[in-house]
Each structure stands twice: as structure tokens, then as C-alpha cells.
Amino acid sequence: MRVPVEWLNEYVKLEAPVEEVADLLTMAGLEVEEIDHLTAVEVARLGGVPDAKDDRILMTKVTPNRGDWLSMLGVAREISAVTGWKLKTPKPIAKGTAPATESLIKISITAPDLCPRYAGIVIRNVVIKESPDWLKNRLIRAGMRPINNIVDITNYVMLEYGQPLHAFDYDLLTGKEIIVRRAREGETITTIDEIERKLSADTLVIADSNRAVAVAGVMGGSESEVGPNTKNIMLESANFNAVSIRRTSKLLSLVTESSYRFERGVDPGITDEAAKRAAELMQELADGEISQGIVDVFPGKSEPRVIFVRPERVNWLLGTNLDVKKMTACLEALQFSTKLAGGGIEVTVPTFRPDVEQEVDVIEEIARIYGYENLGVTLPSAAVEGKDSREGLFTQRLRGILMACGMQEVLTHSLIDPQSVQISGLLEESLAIRNPLSEDTSRLRTALAPNLLHVISRNRSVGQKDISIFEIGKVYHWLEVGAPTEHRSLAVAMTGSQWSCAWNLDKDALNADFYLAKGALERIFDCLHVSGVVFEPIQHPMLHPTRAARIVVNGTELGVLGEVSSEVLDKLDIRGRVYVFEIDVDRLMILTPEAVGYKPLPRFPAVYRHLAVVVKQEVPYAEVKRLVVESGGEIIEDVELLDVYTGTQIKEDERNLTLSIIFRSSERTLTDEEVAGVLEAIKASLVKEFGVTFRG
């Protein structure tokens, strides 16, 4: 809210510099975001008359619980509470000269649940004209546009008291009657902004005997609007249910100064006083005659709230050692009345503080006035041992392995474009946002890899060629039962070389390829001691049809690995080849053993034999290796691949696999004859099963 300093001084004379007052308010919970000011030129441009008064304006940010701070008096009250400076409030009496109000207007409330109080007063024979300069200038500084004296007065009193008011043209009210009722289904009203609005049965309206004349608490109707020819005014000052006004405001997509205040709670104790204040101003500034007495229908009248506060509870929660006198002084400053009773304090809450509902709310009030800065600074005793979550620790371990593999970590958005979801082919499984900001943030990602491709694309566009990146993050899916689910995923994308500076080295040999990506993936499994990993060729919408694998561990599908298809790369405008893998981190965590079984170091020497196997192209390496291990028996320690050759020295449909077979026994030193015998057995099996030949 804009709080003009000149105006504020009418209620509480500021005895300190404005900056200091702003700081005091901020520290009491009413944040002053800045101190603005309007120059004479600006005031004139907005229809005011420049004057020599203080032109500074406190720009406050009001928390949603403190509707009372949306008024000059509310701000003045807070300043007075924290400083002790004297508060001066208007004391309107609105002495009537016209006939009794009751004789001029009949008021009834048929929806008392939505309207706890409605007060009306009639001002006759007003002269519609411009407001005086001082009033116009105050409105302008407070951010409102002057219209005419009657409308300006309703706005002025709303800013002053926080009580929204509405002036009807009395002569346009059919039946000289006000009925506060729910709208009829399908009922419409044209509001003063000349928009016809359809109302629902939940909407509270102000009606005359004929039709709705205002959307209660939101906006008046144009048919009964005050105009240049208006003679008589029916002034409304009412209290409406906050939730009802909020619903209506949302339904109509219409937020007004009035609805904004009602949503945040308006003091039901000032309904009549605000009406009197406005009536007096109309008498003074529009030559009006006030009707005698106010028609005040108050079905929601209730006793003020009394809360019992235990002083020891105050000190317990705040960690203070305040005495009861200090506590009551804080509360009295805020116009809460206090009485010592039953070993505690009976606190009567003023009607302008509906947010104070229970003991703890009163404790906050004491803390506010005592000052948060005066509370102690201690540490709670340690209760449990601090530690990261299992998932957090595992993720950290994974991150370490990936960084050692030369990968840079990235973080990408979970809210993405449906087209990006489609890259990995899981659009139907993806979660859609019902109310997205835009199409390109309307889905939750089902995989990380498409995002990494976007990162590569963006980095390529700024000249980065060699990119190896990873992300560990959540992905989201629909479960078949119709509930959303999420799990952690890891994706890696590589293109170009991981070498930053490699002059004179063979550049082509350094570039990422399928096997370099696979190597990084296998390092992860090795470091985590996950064994039994199987790679099976698959078809995947994102990947090259003959360069893609599914990763399976002991029957659990963990993810995919492959070269990104050129179609996908074309769409993202990426040239060159890109290799990716993505695995389910939650599943990997479950597969990771807690402890590593220790293997004693070998006591006997190993024997190495090379074997060059010429085998049909279609026989997978994994099959050859499996057969070597199986037919070699227990003295095979490991089989390593040294080389793969295809070319002119062998048939076109064949390739040569050069293996290094490592033999070792845990019980004895192997003899040459023994190893030779086993090697022959291996060769025989290979010939028998795959029809291989041997070279060299």
C-alpha cells in the first residue's frame, strides 16, 4: 500500500526521520519496501494541484493476515504501538438534518452468513463537483485517481479506515430498499466498468426490490452509479465474508481495492463509524444533508474475543525471561486490553485484529513489540546424529565416479515441452500440468537424456565442440493405477573429445564413441561392485537402430545406452555424433551391495596366452567370451579383449577377435602343459560351437 507521509502525520505526528519510521515498521512486520515520492509535475499530471507538503510515500508490503494494515489508521496505530507516539483518530458523529434514515431506506440481509453487518445512511441534495486540492493530492499520492467529490470521499475513507464504501444514486434504487442476498442462478449485472457479468448462486449481491445493483464487496453496478446529475446518495458501509468475496473475485477475475481488503478481513467494529465519517465529509465537501440516524443491520454481532495467556508459556516459546508487566505493556500498546486472572493474562482482542485467534498469536504480538532483535541467540541441544539420506549419499558417490570419468554436471528443468518428452517416446506416460505457464513448460520430464541433448545444442550454438555432461535428477511418470510417481535418474551425453588440450595426439581416436560411453557406464558398475550387467540390442525412438542397447542387471531393466539417432539430432540442430546412456538411480541403489566381499591377493603367478579367433560377424563378443570362460574351467581368471579386426586379411562376414586369456590357480603354480591342454579345449569348443578359425 502507498502511505503518503503528509497524510499519515494527521493521525500520528512522526517525531523521527521517515527512514527511521520505515525501519521501525519493517522490524514490526510491516515491511516498507521503499520510500517513494511524487514530484509536483507528477502530481499535476495525475490531476492534482502541486503543494509544498511532504511528498514522500511509504511503500508497504502487507502480509495476507493483516488486513488492518491496508489503512492509514492501521499504519498509524502500528507506529504509535512501537513508538508510544500519540494516536489521533477522527471522531465522526454525522449529526443529521434530513429525515430519519429508516424512513428513507429499508435494509435487510437474507444471507447473514456472508454479510455480518450492513449499515446505510442517506445524504440528500449533494452537489457533485471536483474534490478540494488537499483531498485530490492525498488520493493521488496514495495511487488513486480523483473522479468527483462523492466517489473521492468513499475512496478517501476506505484508505483512511480500511473500510470499503459504496455510494448508490439513491433515486435509482427501486423501492428505496436494499436487500443483501445470494444471486439467482444466471442473474447478470453490468458493473461500473460497463462489463456484463454472469453471477453464480454463491455470489453475494446487493439488490433493490427489483434487481442486483452491486456485486457485494467487489464492484457496484452501472445502473445505480453516481453521476454528474446525482442528487441523493445512499451510502453503504458493510462487512462481508472474506472467503465469499475471494471466490467471487476469482470467479469474475476482478480484483478491486474493495475485494482486496475484504479478502484480508475488514474490522466489523468500524462499519458505522466509517459511514459517519464519509457522511460528514459529504456534508462538508458536497453540501449534503445527512439523514438522521444510521440503519445498521448487524446479524453477526459477537462478543470480543478473549484469550487466556500463560506468561510461562510466553517465555517458554520465546526463550525469554519477561515479567508479566512487560507482556501486558506490549499488548496494551497494541490496544489489546489485559486483565490478570487465574495466574495468567486475560487478553481481549480488538475487533480490528481477527488474525489473533489463540494464545500463540498473542505470543507473537508480544514478541513483535518486544522486538525479535531482542530475543536470545542459542543453539538447541543435539538430539540425534546428523546425516544425509541414503539417496543423498548414493547420489554423491555416483557423482564422484562420473566426475572422475571427466563429466561435467548440469541441472535442467523438470517442466519441459511435450516435444522434448516425445524424443524419448514416453508422452503418454508423462504428467501434464493443468495450468501451465506456457506450452514449453507444460509437461514433466520422463527422462533426462532429451534435456541433455538440448544442453548440447545450446552449448554447440555458442561454439563448444567437446561436451561430456551428466545430470542426476528426478523423472516423473503416471503409474498404471492413476497416481503420479517419480524416481531419480542418471543420464550422460557425450560428443567430441573429452580432451581439452591434446595437440599432436590422434584426434579421431580421442572422440567419444559408443564404447567410450559404455566404458563410463561400466566404470560406474565396477566402482559400485554391481555385477551381472548384460547389454542387449534394442530399438529405441531416440537411438540409432543398430547402435542401442538395453542394460539389464539380474533381470532388472536399468536403462539404455546408445548413439542418438540422426533424426533426433537434426531436430535439435546438432551436427556430429552424440552418445548417451540413462539409468534408473533408485534401482541401481538397490542393486548396489552394502559391503564389498574381500578377495585375498593371489599367491601363485598368472599365465597369459593370446588367442586370435576368426569368427562370424553375427556372433556377439559376449558369447565368445562366455564360451572361453565356460570351456576353460576354474583356472580362467579373466579374458581381456586386445583387438578387433575386420578387413582384407579375412572374409567379409568375419572378424578377428584377439583375446588375452589369463590363467591362474589359487592352489598351485600352473604348468605350461596344463595351460596348453586347457587352451586346446577352449579352441575345440570355439570351433565346435561357432566354427571359428585361428590366426597366428
Binding site: V360, K387, S389, L415, P484
Partner: protein, 330 residues
């Protein structure tokens, strides 16, 4: 020419050849040629039979002396040649030490992950347990259990992305509170961190996605002073001792009293870091914890702000754009 003169001649010849030998290999050959089993010096001894008996001892001694002399010359020359050869080799192997070293890129954690790791280090050190909590959250945990009244203006600050009527993207990591308190009873020292989402367009200081850490403690006697102490400690660890921490009243439905935390580094302007307060008695009660017996504090801090403050980053978008030139700076 006497037999003795022949020795002298041989010595002279050997001496000059040794002196001109340029490699250890040449010296090895000369050693064989003169001192080997069939070498020239050995052959001189064969001539001993042609000498008179009285000359023989002197001749033998002279040959041995000569052998020693040649040996000495060779080893002396060998030492020189080894040095010369080494010098030559070193010269040939000279490297330009100013050429750049070859290296492959070392990966780094994302700057926000570095911050999160720091946050975790500090809070685990203070005795907090980190837990995981879903991002696609139930309305109930995000709002209802946190004492948000239905149709309240407080909801305006928490504009949410909805997936269904029941599920939304969490607007605050605070959603973890009821999840934990429904299952675990005090004493509690809990933290969680991660992505949160609010209906907010992206610009230099706003985003629909941001990161938060939420921390809460529930015990028999947790006070507001404990809340202040914990936050001051955190801020000092994160930003250094030269920091001021400001607490002022603020409103969040799930705390009462509520506070805003702001920091000022080296006397600079106040920067808001997050919201805090004593866990609202309604929240405790909703989770089956007796607010008469237990009290607690809670706070939520924006993580993205921390590296922005620390490294002077002025644009929030940089974090998720993942420009490698940016990420490699940290």
C-alpha cells in the same frame, strides 16, 4: 727395434686411438682389441719366449704396466665419453617446457549442487538428518497440513502448478513436515532440499523452478532463540563471519510467531534468504504431536540465492541454462 720398443709403440698407438674414440661402443671395441684374450697386449706376452731369461721378468712387468696404462686410459676416456654422450642425448631430447600440458576435462559438480553439498555439510554438522520428499506432492501436505486456510490470500503467494485436483508440484519443501511428523515422533531434527515450483514467469530473478532447503526441529523445549541461533550459525558457516542476520516478523500460515530472515554482508543491503518461525500449534496438533509438550521451529531458505550472493551472480537463468563456460567457473 727391441721387444720393449714395440710395447711403447703399442702404447702410443692405443693412447691416440683411445683419445679419438667418440663413443662407448668404440671404447668397448678398443678394449677388446688391446686387452681382450686375443688382444694386442696379450699377444705381446707371447713374444716373451723369444727373450733371454734375464730380460723376461722385466718384459713381463712392462707388458703388465702397459696393460694397466691402457686400461686407465680407456676408463678415463669412457667417463668423458659417457658425459659427452649424455650431453648430446639431452640436447637432442630438449623439450619446450612452455608448451601447454595435455589433459582431459575434469568434471565438476554443478554450482547449485556445490551449494547444496555445503548446506548439507552445515546442517548434518548441526545434527540434522536429511530426508527425501516428493516434488509431485499432495495438496494435503503442501497446504492443508500446513495450516493454509482454504480460499485465503496467503495462497496468492503460492500459485501452484496442478497435475490433478489432488496432486500439484510442491511450492515449498516445507511440505515434508507433516510427512515426517505423521510417522516419527520427537525429538526431530529434519532437513530436506530440492526443487520447488511456483507459477512465476522466468526472468533474471524469478523462475517457475527454484531450489529450497527446509529444516525443522521438534523437541521438548525448542525456543525462538534456538531458531535464531541455528540460523545465525548457518549463515556464518555459509557466508563467513562478516555477516549480519536480521529477523523480523513475517507471516506464513505454518509458523507462529513467524519471521523473515535477511542477511547483510559487509554492511551491504539486506537480502532476503527465507522464512522461519515456531511451528504452528495447529500443524503439530494435525500431526498428532502435543503442542503443550513439544515445541519446534522451522525455516525454509532459497538455495539459488546463496551462490548468487556468494559469487555475485546476477542472473538466475544461468543456473539452468548450463552453459559450460559458466559452469566451469566454479
Amino acid at each position: 727395434m727391441t721387444e720393449f720398443d714395440r710395447i711403447t709403440d703399442l702404447e702410443k698407438e692405443a693412447s691416440s686411438r683411445i683419445a679419438s674414440a667418440g663413443s662407448t661402443r668404440e671404447l668397448d671395441e678398443l678394449e677388446v682389441e688391446y686387452l681382450g684374450r686375443k688382444g694386442k697386449v696379450t699377444q705381446l706376452l707371447r713374444a716373451i719366449g723369444e727373450l733371454s731369461a734375464e730380460d723376461r721378468p722385466a718384459y713381463g712387468a712392462r707388458v703388465n704396466q702397459s696393460k694397466g696404462t691402457i686400461e686407465g686410459l680407456i676408463s678415463e676416456r669412457r667417463a668423458q665419453v659417457v658425459q659427452e654422450e649424455a650431453k648430446k642425448r639431452f640436447k637432442a631430447e630438449t623439450l619446450d617446457v612452455t608448451l601447454p600440458g595435455r589433459f582431459y576435462n575434469v568434471g565438476q559438480p554443478h554450482v547449485l549442487v556445490q551449494t547444496m553439498a555445503e548446506v548439507k555439510r552445515i546442517f548434518t554438522g548441526l545434527g540434522y538428518q536429511f530426508v527425501e520428499s516428493p516434488e509431485v506432492e499432495r495438496y494435503r501436505y503442501n497446504f492443508e497440513a500446513l495450516n493454509y486456510p482454504e480460499e485465503h490470500p496467503a495462497m496468492d503467494e503460492q500459485m501452484s502448478f496442478y497435475v490433478t485436483d489432488e496432486y500439484l508440484l510442491r511450492t515449498q519443501t516445507t511440505a515434508v513436515q507433516a510427512r515426517v511428523m505423521e510417522k516419527q515422533k520427537p525429538p526431530l531434527r529434519i532437513c530436506t532440499l530440492g526443487k520447488c515450483y511456483r507459477y512465476d514467469a522466468v526472468d533474471a530473478t524469478h523462475s517457475h523452478t527454484f531450489h529450497q532447503v527446509d529444516c525443522f526441529a521438534v523437541d521438548e523445549h525448542i525456543t525462538m532463540a534456538d531458531l535464531k541461533g541455528t540460523l545465525v550459525k548457518f549463515c556464518q558457516e555459509m557466508f563467513g563471519e562478516d555477516i549480519r542476520v536480521r529477523f523480523r516478523p513475517d507471516f506464513f500460515p505454518f509458523v507462529e510467531p513467524g519471521a523473515e530472515i535477511a542477511i547483510s554482508i559487509s554492511g551491504g543491503r539486506w537480502l532476503e534468504l527465507g522464512g522461519a518461525g515456531m511451528i504452528h500449534t495447529n500443524v503439530l496438533r494435525n500431526c498428532g504431536i502435543d503442542p503443550e509438550k513439544y515445541t519446534g521451529f522451522a525455516f525454509g531458505l532459497g538455495i539459488d540465492r546463496m551462490p548468487m550472493i556468494k559469487h555475485g551472480i546476477d542472473n538466475l537463468r544461468l543456473f539452468m541454462e548450463d552453459d559450460l563456460r559458466f559452469l566451469r567457473q566454479f
